[in-house]
């Protein structure tokens, strides 16, 4: 799961939070739903820590005992840039494989 790939936990968390604020368990369920990937708690919180440290996500006030997170403006811009890069690669790859 290299950074920038479609299975990068950081990217998957950003995509999940692009759909609205979520806490850890909700992110896990969401990622499993759209990517078919079950992130472990160590991987999830490693990604959350990295993204929070980079200012791409931020913690919201506690919801009971759960801690929700949301995408920041910088996080949305970063996600848009990374998805655009992936989109270009995907389109070029598909075009080439169809031509082959």
């Amino acid at each position: 799961m290299t950074e920038g790939s479609g299975r990068d936990p950081g990217l998957l968390v950003l995509i999940s939070l692009a759909g609205g604020p979520k806490h850890g368990h909700a992110i896990l369920l969401d990622v499993a739903g759209f990517a078919g990937l079950r992130l472990g708690p160590g991987t999830l919180y490693g990604a959350l820590a990295r993204l929070e440290e980079s200012g791409l996500i931020e913690a919201l006030p506690l919801d009971g005992r759960r801690q929700p997170y949301r995408l920041t403006g910088a996080g949305a811009a970063s996600l848009r840039g990374r998805l655009t890069g992936l989109d270009v690669a995907v389109r070029v790859g598909l075009r080439r494989i169809q031509a082959a």
């Binding site: 896990l28 708690p41 160590g42 919180y45 959350l48 801690q67």
Partner: protein
């Protein structure tokens, strides 16, 4: 399973432990989760260690050398090394004049003194070991090892300084050490051949 969170660095635990513990309560326990938590702890420990490294500015001519206390006294250490190696130097110098160059009458004159001097085993050991110890004493102020993060990468730097007195003592130590080792090898081969 929650006990595995103790493997994480304290700063990480202060921020995320309660959240992860809450999440663990909601998830079914299995072996892959256990491995994921251990892997996460290793990664966070490595990141914490990385953060502890000093951050260097982008270097103009290489990362700066970190000074250790010995580097502040190169001359004193060179003189100390010189004092340490002087008895060996005198011993080798006189022996060379007497036995190799054969200065007339010198061998007869110094033989009793050299015999008496080298009779105790520790004197031999001192004369043989002094050039090697003196080499270390003289070379330490000239060597610096630097490390740190520069532009996001780990940089290790070995720096050498050129100080005339220290280098002169180093050359003397190498010559003496070489002569003594050569002498010992010759003696050993001579004894083996007999």
């Amino acid at each position: 399973m929650k006990r595995l969170l103790r493997l994480y660095p304290s700063a990480w635990r202060a921020r995320y432990e309660a959240e992860v513990a809450e999440l663990l309560d909601e998830l079914p326990t299995n072996r892959s989760m256990l491995l994921d938590l251990i892997r996460g702890a290793v990664v966070e420990r490595a990141r914490a260690a990385w953060r502890l490294l000093p951050v260097n500015p982008v270097p103009a001519g290489g990362p700066p050398m970190l000074e250790h206390p010995l580097q502040r006294h190169p001359t004193s250490l060179a003189l100390l090394a010189l004092v340490m190696v002087t008895p060996t130097f005198l011993f080798v110098f006189v022996s060379l004049l007497a036995y190799q160059i054969s200065v007339p009458g010198l061998a007869t004159a110094v033989e009793p003194a050299l015999q008496a001097l080298t009779a105790p085993g520790w004197v031999d050991l001192f004369l043989l070991g002094a050039p090697f110890v003196a080499f270390l004493v003289a070379v330490l102020p000239l060597v610096g090892l630097g490390w740190g993060r520069t532009d996001g990468e780990l940089h290790l730097t070995l720096s050498l300084r050129a100080r005339a007195l220290n280098l002169a003592v180093l050359v003397l130590c190498v010559l003496l050490g070489g002569l003594l080792i050569g002498h010992l090898i010759t003696e050993f081969m001579y004894e083996a051949a007999r």
